[in-house]
Amino acid sequence: MTTQTLTLAQGLNAGLRQALADDDHVVLLGEDIGALGGVFRVTDGLQREFGPRRVVDTPLAESGILGTAIGMSYRGYRPVVEIQFDGFVYVAFDQIVSQVAKMHARTRGKVPMPITIRIPVAGGIGAAEHHSESPETYFVHTAGLRVVSVSNPQDASTVLRQAIACDDPVIFFEPKRLYHVKGEVDAAVDLADAPPMSAAHVVRPGRDVTVVSWGSHVATAIDAAEAMADDGASVEVIDLRSLSPWDADAVAESVRRTGRLVVVHEGPRQVGVGAEICATVTERCFEHLEAPPVRVTGHDVPYPPAKLEGHHVPDLDRVCFGIDQVLGRVPLDVPTVTRTAQEVAA
């Protein structure tokens, strides 16, 4: 095993290179992924290395890209699609939820869709509108898809290869905030030895509170755990990694020990993935819960302009506040509407 220090973007690049080298049927499709190497340079150098038939600049149409990927899957290919930014995936939504997600079930297993859909995701980078979306709910709710999100360069490389090797379609979220974060990467990990794509990782053990997150907020959660340690609370942090399926066993096992759960994510709260985690953990760990699970999330608003994202994206303070809440150190303060008399009468 040889490791290198790579950024998360470079880890992805290494993972793609390995996947292209390992399997002739892996093809990359996307806008500006060729000469430019993608707007985040994740595909840098790959078209030069593997040629324009395997690293393919597509016309500017995301539904077209996904539809094409579906046809290539019929022909035995394993397309890896790059959506340039999270906000541009919605024009391809029908091809993803009506076709990609359903084709294997529709054909009773005759036509798998081994498509990986890479999506640079979430905010915190001061970007323009539609460049900071957290659309995970839409895909986690869609049966037939798998959804993963990476939090470090090694996972970037390995999980991406696992996603490409998987015969199911995988939505692969790349947190933009982490593209430049560095770490040690072994780009040639034997996938047979790697932990399964769907397994959560306990990235920091603790006794009093379980914090579940993924992507860029794993780091925030670890920071919060450290800050809370000074305040005398032992916080366990779980990197969920896979959002669909998600590792409810691992989370439930942890919550049974700690009795307290905080979920941190950036997408809106209402029917966010946090709602699922809280609901499921309540079902499974009801007798063990010392307090209601707490969600620290983006607000129920369109992602705000860049100058305001600090008030939207969960940060260290808000995660600590959530931990304090679940510990009963500050009131839960759930938003409550006081209905008018007329409304109550209704």
């Binding site: 002739d24 093809v27 539809g67 094409t68 579906i70 046809g71 290539m72 019929y74 091809q95 036509v111």
Partner: protein, 426 residues
Amino acid sequence: MPSTTDPRTRRLSRAGHDSSVDSAHGGARDHAPAPAHPAPAPDGAQTGDGTVRLIDADGVRHPDAAYDRWVEDVDHAALRELYEDMVVVRRIDTEATALQRQGQLALWPPLLGQEAAQIGSARALETDDFVFSSYREHGVAHVRGIAGADLLRVWRGVTGAGWDPHEARMAPMQVIIGAQALHAVGYAVGILADQETDERGEAPGSGATAGAAPTEAVISYFGDGATSQGDVAEAFTFASTWTAPVVFFCQNNQWAISEPVSLQSKVPLVERARGYGMPGVRVDGNDVLAVLAVTREALHRARTGGGPTFIEAVTYRRGPHTTADDPTRYRTSAEIEHWEARDPVSRVATHLRSEGALDDDGEARVQAAADAVAAELRAGVTTIADPSWQDVFADVYAEPHAELEAERDAYARYLDGFATTEGGGR
């Protein structure tokens, strides 16, 4: 059926034929959104100049300098086969409609009137070619060898795909209007990619020889209404700039449920092609021979590196949109009569008889073949097994999915509960 014609006959299509922006095919429309459904104009505008037609509504064969060569091999015997195909699929359609009325099928979208468009185009295909169709292409499916129960399975509501797409080399029917046009392009791009892989000496199963032009091609069927969907336009762009070996076969049957084609376009649909850098050809979709000719030409272009072609087959949906539709709400019986007079099936019979190539005995044999297929269909529907509750959870994922399996097992335990209580539930 005879195989494709001589590749040396590769020629340009009629893409450049004359038509002007102002000559609306559905008659002039004022600039109001949605006037009350102007009916398609009679013959002239709909199958006027520039439309390829080899056998007219009266069964008269007209020579065509450009297209005769594509059907040189179609002798009387071959034409009789095409005729039989059409009679058979019409019978399939009648039978399935009846089965729906009897409650054996949940729904059925009749193809009545579109037999020539479907048979002529499908008979132009090679076995290895791949079809991505809409929901009404029972005739195409029949030609692909899909018969009996497999054809009805979906419409009985037991599955999402009645056949193995790889075996039949035809994807399951597509309900989302236009989505399949992109799938066809992707498959065609895969053919190109295979060739390059072949050149590298690692063939993944394509029959193409190293360095040669593609020998497989793809056809995508969709309707006149579908041309308004963004996906279809994107498919044109992708296919064109990538020179993908695909044929876009549009059955302009004049209606998208209750909406006339004039609501989708002011000009003949064939005009779309040129603006996307591909040839377009308009054909009398009720003339099986002409449809065969233009489709062969287009497939040949695809196979020889010439890229996509758009075919507009002008035809008519004589039945309801589906068995759930009531077309009397939006169109006249005069219109239907107009198109009955342009029947795709009878014109071939007339032609064959006039040539002495079909007599009463021959006709009887054709009808007997149709009777046999109909009987097979009726028998087939009763053999379709109901799915089991486990199928709800089956095949959602290709790889093991412990979470969904657990969900299935919990449901199994729930069902088991009824077995232990008398009566099985409340």
